[in-house]
């Protein structure tokens, strides 16, 4: 899209070109007209010279005739004047028609005829001077002089006609050139006027449209700028508030960072103490592991003894079975003895009493063996329970030993991790101190930013005022353009 300056320049350039064209055409027409006028004047001069030449010849002939008739030398005055002037006129004619070969050819022809005529005139004059009128009239009557004069007049007429033809032609050329110049000037001026008017209208409308659009854009932009300035001012105020809050928060953060640094220092100290405690715990666990291994050995020994006790109780049970069997056999024997003693009559009663007592003893022994069996069963159950419990204890001890190993590994890992924790806590302490320094710098920067935000707020207010003024200016410009367009 063309800019306004370009459109204006284009309009002026077009007008300039048209004016220049009209000027050039007019100049050329005037030149042509002038040149043609010169030529017309030249033609008139040629015609004048031709007429003058014929007139001079007539004067010469008139002087010759007067002298011939009168014999008075005074009548030769026109002759003499013409003879002198004819050469100059012919010479002038030659110069004037130097650009016309036909005329030059005729001048050559007429020049010889003039020479012949002048010679005839001179001859007749000489004849008259020496002779008589009759002798001269006789020569004149021969008609040679008249023939020369007729030829001269004929050629002069031809030259006159050609010059008149040229005059007519040049007059037409002058008329044409004048018409062309007139047309060019009129139409060119009209075209120029129309073009300038159209260009003016177009440029005006274009300018009105573009400037109106630009003004509307300016108005819209100024409104947006106003809104943005409002928002910017509001944002700057909020930013200032936020900066203040951030500054407060950063101050709290700074205090927190210092607390963190102190905490990290305490953590490092505690981690070192914990590491020492973990190492002590590792030693304790190793010692406990040794003790547990001793317990395991003792428990294994207890299991062996308990198994031996179980075997012994089994052996006791076997022996008790034998005793029980003996008691039963004794009981049976005693019962049989009792039966036998009952069959032996009075003498067998004492034996029966003994057998009865033996049976009672056997019963009691049987009862005792049952009690002992019960006790042995209880002992065996206790031994089994003890063995089971001991095996469970052994497993628990094994599990404890493994767990102690795991605890040792865990404590070693804890020790290593505590070393890492100590280093990390120190790094945290160092980093937190650096962070505190950075936060202080940030605090300073935030203060600067707060100042800049206040300045921004002031600038935003100023921008708002400028935008408001710009909006007013754009409205004025709009009204101006609308009034211009309406006009």
């Amino acid at each position: 899209m063309w800019t306004m300056g370009r459109k204006i320049a284009a309009g002026f350039a077009l007008s300039f070109v048209l004016l220049a064209l009209v000027g050039v055409v007019a100049f050329r027409s005037v030149n042509a007209l002038t040149f043609t006028s010169y030529k017309v004047a030249h033609t008139h001069e040629v015609l004048e010279h031709i007429a003058n030449l014929v007139s001079l010849l007539k004067d010469a002939e008139t002087g010759q005739r007067g002298y011939v008739i009168t014999g008075d030398e005074t009548f030769l005055e026109p002759y003499r004047t013409s003879v002198v002037g004819i050469d100059k006129v012919v010479k002038d004619l030659r110069q004037l028609t130097a650009d016309n070969p036909n005329q030059l050819k005729r001048i050559e022809e007429i020049e010889s005829l003039i020479a012949a005529k002048l010679a005839e005139l001179k001859q007749t004059i000489e004849i008259r001077r020496k002779g008589t009128f009759e002798e001269t009239a006789k020569v004149i009557r021969s008609g040679e002089g008249k023939k020369f004069m007729d030829d001269i007049r004929r050629i002069a007429d031809q030259m006159d006609q050609e010059e008149r033809q040229l005059l007519k032609q040049r007059a037409e050329e002058v008329e044409a050139a004048a018409n062309a110049a007139r047309s060019t000037i009129i139409y060119g001026t009209l075209a120029c006027l129309l073009l300038v008017t159209a260009a003016g209208v177009f440029i005006t409308r274009s300018l009105a449209g573009q400037i109106g659009m630009a003004v509307r854009h300016v108005h819209s932009s100024s409104a947006e700028l106003q809104s943005v300035a409002n928002q910017q001012a509001s944002g700057a105020r909020e930013s200032a508030t936020a900066m203040s809050e951030i500054s407060t928060t950063i101050s709290e953060l700074l205090a927190t960072s210092r607390q963190i640094a102190e905490s990290a220092q305490r953590v490092a100290h505690v981690a070192e103490e914990t590491s020492a405690a973990a190492r002590a715990g590792t030693r304790t666990v190793l010692e406990t592991h040794e003790s547990v291994s001793g317990i395991k050995r003792q428990v294994d020994l207890i299991v062996v003894h308990m198994l031996d006790l179980g075997k012994k109780s089994q052996q006791i049970g076997g022996i008790l079975e034998i005793i029980n069997e003996l008691a039963e056999q004794t009981n049976i024997l005693a019962i049989n003895a009792t039966i036998e003693s009952a069959g032996a009559g009075e003498s067998g009663k004492r034996f029966g009493a003994v057998a009865d007592e033996i049976r009672k003893l056997a019963d009691r022994v049987g009862g005792s063996t049952k009690e002992i069996r019960t006790l042995i069963e209880e002992v065996r159950a206790a031994v089994n329970a003890t063995v089971m419990a001991t095996e469970g204890g052994t497993k628990a001890v094994d599990l404890g030993a493994r767990q102690f190993g795991q605890v040792t590994d865990a404590l070693n890992q804890i020790t290593a991790l505590l070393g890492t924790t100590t280093e990390a806590a120190r790094e945290i302490e160092l980093s937190t101190k650096q962070q505190s320094t950075a936060v202080e710098q940030v605090n300073v920067a935030i203060s600067n930013v707060a100042k800049a935000t206040k300045e921004t707020e002031a600038s935003s207010t100023q921008t708002l005022q400028t935008a408001t003024q710009l909006s007013g200016l754009s409205r004025d410009l709009t009204r101006l353009i609308q009034s211009t367009a309406a006009a």
Partner: protein, 177 residues
């Protein structure tokens, strides 16, 4: 080797009881009539056998089965240098045959001794005659027992051995080997 106190006490009690038997003078007049009984179990039920009706008891004897049409006859066993027929007390009392393992044999009869196989022997007891009651107990032993004794809250049928011997003789007479 030391002996624990309860065992020592029991040992002393046994020794004292045994010594008292010989230390106390034998009384000739018995104030109270007594009855010696063997407490046994047949097919799990408690029974009592009068000691004066048997000739002895043996244990640990192997019973060799012999073919017989008498279902109560379990076989023969070697007792005191001879063979005796072994009958199931439970079968004779009317229980299903071979219901109890043979643990002890009760010798009966004088001319033709036979042995009654017992499933379980609980002991030798001397009871007062007044504890033995005459009656008709119920159960499979009906007709085989006529008395009952109650000891330690357990009522036991008292097997009548002579009646069982007659039963065996009738069975053997009806089905000779």
């Amino acid at each position: 080797m030391t002996v624990s106190a309860p065992v020592a006490e029991k040992l002393a009690e046994l020794r004292g009881a045994f010594d008292r038997t010989f230390a106390v003078a034998r009384s000739s007049d018995v104030v109270d009539e007594t009855e010696d009984l063997l407490f046994v179990r047949a097919a799990g039920d408690p029974y009592a056998i009068k000691v004066r009706q048997i000739s002895g008891i043996v244990s640990g004897r192997k019973t060799i089965a012999v073919p017989s049409r008498v279902p109560e006859l379990l076989g023969v066993a070697a007792v005191r240098g001879g063979f005796v027929s072994v009958y199931s007390l439970a079968s004779l009392l009317g229980y299903a045959p071979a219901s109890d393992p043979v643990r002890m044999l009760v010798m009966c009869g004088s001319k033709e001794p036979v042995a009654l196989a017992l499933g379980d022997f609980e002991g030798y007891f001397r009871v007062s005659s007044r504890q033995i009651h005459t009656g008709e107990p119920t159960g499979p032993t009906r007709g085989r027992v006529k008395q009952a004794v109650r000891v330690a809250d357990i009522t036991r049928a008292v097997v009548d051995i002579p009646d069982l011997m007659e039963l065996i003789e009738r069975r053997v007479g009806a089905h000779p080997v």
